[in-house]
Every structure is written in structure tokens, then in C-alpha cells.
Symmetry: C2
Subunit: 418 residues, 2 copies
């Protein structure tokens, strides 16, 4: 492990050394650089695609599955989309220098609470090379230095993207150290990186449950836990069953492999008789495998019995667990016990039940008569997203530019002493 | 270590199980319970003082120094002050249920961002038994369950205080598990407690630099780093030297052992000639030991040369490091290199220099012509304080009730799907 320590310390130290540089760039400079970086990715497409071809053929030889290969693969159209994403981030309102509070104390000192960059943000992620440009754009727009540790599968592509952007930084007389890539593909590099608390202010893992668990377990840097979603749809006794059907279909099937997809259906016993046949039809039409509790199992042809693990599972697949409850209280207890605190929905026409659910379910996003699929920075109107936080510290739910900032207190006076 | 694991898991699990209970208590119930708890501490003073006497005599036999003994010691007056502190927290505005944002998206779904409790908050602290009541009051007022791990020196006192408060909770038909004390004095208990991420949402260490470093290093629970302050006063070339003198005296001497006290003086070379004799007088009058850089040393009788460590030190004592710089840039670089990101002050009549300092110094609180001693929840008007955060995630600077909350998104609609 110690072979890489010096190199990683050097990268992190270089990043920390330019922490203040972003702060000195006014908004128009940051926008200009992001737009030029987007242009450079397009004009440098040949070099990036050649690097990507190296990654893809290496991954294919190593037997990577088609689905994953597709996430790794770039072409001119995809590079165009990446560039377009950067331009969109550039055009968002400046999250820095916002006056969050401004008041004067009885002794005459004025206290202003001002939004500022976090400083150095580390991002650890998996194969998708679009994250490289995306994460840089979000961090840079919010005045932060970024250190990226992408998956080893995409290393050549990531290096080509980072080199392109660093070139643009240099052309603008900005230190390229504002964007760092850890070019070491050895697994130990990520573990070492997570210990660099002295230089890195925040670490955000983007990827599957095991990546996130590993970062949460091992990081010495403050982490924002993102993305694992065991989302529930609860159909209340007073639900509009047609609406419940539409929401369930959307939440379960519109995109199966995403964190805001529903993984579990909870039914009030009073509507179970009417809704279970509807569920059976949906399952049949959309090829959903049902894992049903004792009470629902007899009514669901082809369903298998649900285990304890099923209720806790984030399937990311065409599988749905089903639970029948006696009361709203039981529904709330069941969901708070098994969910991941991501997104949960109640379908009901009863306003009191809806408000109880919204208040008592301990999730980042709680929905009344709306599909869980809306938990997303774009859908929330943030214009961008670095991830969905499932922890309560700092940021919860979709994270946009604002969530990549901190604040400071600027206190001005005329010689006040205490 | 495993001897205590079961007991600590049991405590944390019990706390997590009542996480939702606070949420069901409306504000008036929380206020009533806090006021009754304050009353109970006073009426139960004999029992608490008997327990405190056990702690104090044990500590005295073990050779604890007078200063520390004084922090441990309680009498009726001090219990009255603790109770008064609880009543003050009770009377503060409710931090829960605040609508932080409320907007409707083009598809008609309404998104409301609402302040909610963090959940379960762990506090690890040292000898002072007043923290026990104080931390409970702040956590309970903000709807949180608290798990306290106090210093072993105060164990009997802490148990008596916690038993008194738990009695009040029970009288009000609230689960006493909302307040937990880890009664194990073995050092390994704290280490085990810090691994309970499954049950605890946030961990706040309150104490000296080594306690905080140990929590930051070992915790698996998200931590807010508090309190270490290497605070600077920078006297600019355009300073009002009389004001600089008053601010320096106040920041260095008004309370020596606190985190917002100044530990370092930075002087612009153009005013060094005029200010160094003033500094020498201050040092003499207040018995301050000066650790001076090469340029200031010859002008400061009795000063010793400053080492690299001096510039980084939080003395918490009548010691001050002194550095002369050529430019404002050099002052900013020096401070950003050695400070702890707590509080730093510029004394100047030059508005442009002041704004550069406020913007470029990377601290929680930056001051222009105001003493660093104001970094405090009460002085900032928060009405209470759980600590001073020196990290950028979640909360920065003084932390009051608001900083003990998170938020959730309540999304309501009419069957919106994506």
C-alpha cells in the first residue's frame, strides 16, 4: 500500500494548495471556463474516443457484460451530451456569495452568513466516464477543487477527459490542480485516498451499494452517503385505486435499475381484495416477479413467499415485495423498519392519513399521490445533481450546487470587545 | 472490548427505537417537559449533590488538579444555574416544522422542504456535569434522542442527573429511552459507541483537542468536529492602533482557556514600529509570554523565538505568537496555513483590505474590527450552543438548535408520474 501513499499525498496536497484559487475566480470566469471545457471535449473527441476504445477493448477481453460495457462506451454523440451537460451546469445560478442571513446584534456588530465553497471535494465512482466531466462541472461551478477517483475500467477515458479540461484551465491562467484525477487503478489507492482528511473536506461516493458501504466504513473524510433506495409505495384504505395502479407501474417499471424505483408495495387490508387482482395483472403485463407475504401470497398467482431479506432488498430489478397491513400505523412501522430513508409514497384520498405518513416516515423524500421516481435533482428543479443523500447530516435527498457549498460568518464592527 | 458490546448495542438500539417518539410530541409538550426537568433537578438537588460528592472525593484521592476539580464540582447554586439554562432552552423558538422552501413544479407537484430532527445524537464529553443537562435540553428541544457518554470522573453525578430527567419523562408518559447515558467508564466503551452507525445519526465530541481528534479518527458515525481554535488577530497597515490594542487585549486575555481566544498576532510591517512597543506594554501588563518571529523579536523584551509549532499552537494560556508580514497577501497565506479554521480578525480602516480578508480567510467566523471572542452561540443570538464547528459539512461556527436539525422533502400531488 505504501507504494502509492506518496503519490496520493502529493495529489491531495496539490489540490488543497489551490483551495483558495476558485474563490478568486468570479462567476463569469467560472462560466467561461466551463463553456470552453465543454467545447474542448467536443473538439478533442478523437483523442478521448481513442482512449475510450482502449478501455472498452480491455474490458471486453476481460469478459465485462454488455450492460456494463454500454455504460463505459463513448461515441461522438455521447461526448456531445457530456459537453451539453457541462454547458447547462455553467448556466445555472451562482451558488456562491449568497447572503443566507444578515442581522445586527445589540452591540452594533453586523453578522452576515455567506455561502462559500466546501473546499476540496473527493468523488469516488465506478465505470461511467460521463461522471468525470459532470462531477468536475458541479464542483467547479460551486467553487470547489475536485479530486476524482474513477473506476479502473475507465482509466484511459478519464485521463483523456481530465487532460482536456486541465488544458482549458491552463489556457485561462488557472492552476490545473483545481482538477485532479487519481490515476492509480490499484484498489488500495481508494482506501488510501479516504484517509486524506487533512486535505479533503468532503467525500462523495457514487455507485452501487457495496462501493458506498466501503466508503462509509473506511473513510476518515466526512462522507455524504448516497443512493441506496429501498423505496415503498403504500396504498391506503382510502386510495384512488386507479391512481395507485398508475403510480405503482411508474415507480416500479419506468426505470428499473435506479435508486428511486419502488422495491416494495404495502397494502392496507381493506383494499387488498380489490387491489391484489390489479397487482397480479400489472405483474403479468410487466413481467414483475412478486415476493409476497403470507396474506397476499394466495391471491397472487406465480408469486413466491417473501423473506425478511426481501423486505429490506434494493432489487434494482423487475422484482417487488408485497406486504398487507392492518392499519396505517403498521404501514409506517413496516416502512420505517425496512426502508433506506430514500423515498416513500402514500396513495390516499385521506388528507389526515397523508399528513401522518409525510410526517412520520423518516425518509429524505416523502410523497403523497406522486411517484417516488421524482427524487432527482432535475425533477426537483435544481438543474443538476451530484447524487441523492440518504443521510441527515448536511444534505438530504437530491443534491445540487447549493449542497456542494458551506457557509461562513462575516462579522463587521467598530472595535467591539466582549 | 466485547464485554461491553451487548450493553452498548442495547442502549443504542433502545434510543433508535424511540427516534420517532420526539416527533409526536408537539412543541408545548417539549417545553413543559424541559421546564419540569429543570424543576426536578432543583428539587432533587440533595441526591445529585451526594452523587457529585462521591465523584469529587474519588477524583481528589486520585490527585485531580484544583482547576479540573472545580469543573466537576456542583453545589446548589450551580444546580440552579443548570436548571436555569434548561428553562432558557425551553423558551427558545421551536426549530422543528420550519418551512425552508415551498414551491410547485411545472407538473403541479408541490415540494415543501421542512426542518426535522436529526434523529439520534451522540455526545461524547469530558468532566463537566453541566453538559449532561445542557446537551439533553438542546437535543430534546430540537426533537432528538440523545445518547450521552460523559467522562468517567463525573459518572455518579451524570447518572443522578439523567435519572432525574428520565423520571420526568416517565411522569409525562414519554419513553425515558429518549435520554440515554452510557454508564460504562472503561475507555473501550467510547470506542465501541463510535461504531454504532446503524443507530446513531450524528456524533458531537465536546472537549479538548485530543478527545476531538480521537473521535474524528475512530468514529463510523458522521461527526461534527468542534472547538479547536488557533485564532489570529491581524493588524493591517491601515489599522486604528488604539482599536487594535483593545481588540488584542480582549481577544487574548478576557478568557484565556477558551477556543475563541487569540493565540497569534500578525502585524503588517508598516505599523510594526508603532505597534510593537504597544504589544510589549500589553505583554508586560497582562503577563503574556511572547513567541516572536525574527523580525519582531529584537523589539520585544523577554520574548522567545517562535518555532513552526508555535504558529500552529492553540495555547489556551497566556502565550501569544507574533509574526510580521510584508503584505496583506502574506498575512492571508500565513493565517490560512496555520489556523484551525475557527475565528480570525483583521483590524483595519481600509474597506478593501477588510473585504479581501473576510473573503479569503477560510474560517468559520471572520471578523473586521471585532474581537474573535464573539464566536459563541449566545453572542450570535442563537440563545444556546452545543459547540463551535470547525468543519464545513452541515454546520460551521456556533451551533444552536437549528444546527441540530435536518430536513425532509414533502411532495404532494394528484397522481403525477414520470
Amino acid at each position: 500500500m505504501s507504494d502509492y501513499r506518496d503519490e496520493i499525498v502529493k495529489i491531495c496536497r496539490a489540490a488543497a494548495a489551490v483551495r483558495g484559487d476558485c474563490l478568486l475566480l468570479d462567476e463569469s470566469s467560472r462560466v467561461k471556463i466551463l463553456e470552453e471545457a465543454a467545447g474542448a471535449l467536443v473538439s478533442n473527441a478523437k483523442v478521448i474516443l481513442a482512449a475510450n476504445e482502449k478501455d472498452v477493448s480491455k474490458a471486453r477481453s476481460a469478459g465485462m457484460k454488455e450492460g456494463l460495457l454500454d455504460r463505459l462506451y463513448l461515441d461522438e454523440k455521447r461526448i456531445g451530451q457530456i459537453a451539453e451537460g457541462m454547458r447547462q451546469v455553467a448556466s445555472l445560478p451562482d451558488p456562491l456569495g449568497q447572503v443566507l442571513d444578515d442581522y445586527t446584534r445589540p452591540n452594533g456588530m453586523r453578522i452576515r452568513k455567506i455561502s462559500v465553497p466546501m473546499g476540496v471535494i473527493g468523488i469516488i465512482y465506478e465505470s461511467r466516464p460521463n461522471v468525470t466531466a459532470d462531477a468536475f462541472a458541479l464542483c467547479f461551478k460551486s467553487g470547489n477543487v475536485s479530486i476524482l477517483k474513477g473506476g479502473s475500467d475507465a482509466i484511459y477515458t478519464n485521463m483523456a477527459i481530465v487532460d482536456t479540461i486541465r488544458g482549458v484551465l491552463e489556457e485561462n491562467s488557472v492552476s490545473p490542480d483545481i482538477l485532479q484525477l487519481i490515476p492509480i487503478t490499484d484498489r488500495s489507492a481508494a482506501a488510501l485516498f479516504m484517509t486524506m482528511r487533512e486535505y479533503v473536506d468532503l467525500l462523495i461516493p457514487r455507485g452501487g451499494a457495496s462501493l458506498i458501504a466501503s466508503v462509509v466504513e473506511n473513510s476518515r473524510i466526512p462522507v455524504i452517503e448516497t443512493g441506496v433506495g429501498n423505496c415503498h409505495v403504500y396504498v391506503d384504505s382510502d386510495a384512488d385505486l386507479k391512481m395507485a395502479k398508475e403510480i405503482l407501474i411508474n415507480a416500479k417499471t419506468s426505470r428499473v435499475g435506479v435508486c428511486n424505483a419502488a422495491e416494495s408495495l404495502v397494502l392496507h387490508k381493506d383494499i387488498a381484495d380489490s387491489f391484489l387482482p390489479v397487482l397480479a395483472d400489472i405483474a403479468c403485463e410487466y413481467s414483475i416477479e412478486l415476493r409476497a407475504d403470507e396474506r397476499s401470497l394466495p391471491f397472487l398467482k406465480g408469486a413466491v413467499p417473501a423473506s425478511e431479506e426481501d423486505f429490506a432488498a434494493e432489487y434494482l430489478d423487475l422484482i417487488l415485495s408485497v406486504k398487507v397491513v392492518d392499519t396505517l400505523d403498521d404501514a409506517i412501522s413496516h416502512i420505517n423498519r425496512y426502508h433506506t430513508g430514500h423515498s416513500d409514497c402514500i396513495v390516499t384520498e385521506n388528507a389526515k392519513n397523508a399528513q401522518r405518513f409525510l410526517t412520520e416516515i423518516d425518509s429524505a423524500c416523502v410523497y403523497h399521490n406522486v411517484s417516488t421516481r421524482f427524487t432527482d435533482g432535475f425533477e426537483f428543479g435544481f438543474g443538476a445533481e451530484i447524487g441523492i443523500s440518504t443521510q441527515k447530516l448536511h444534505a438530504r435527498g437530491p443534491m445540487g450546487l447549493k449542497e456542494l457549498t458551506s457557509y461562513k460568518y462575516e462579522v463587521t464592527g467598530t472595535g467591539q470587545v466582549r
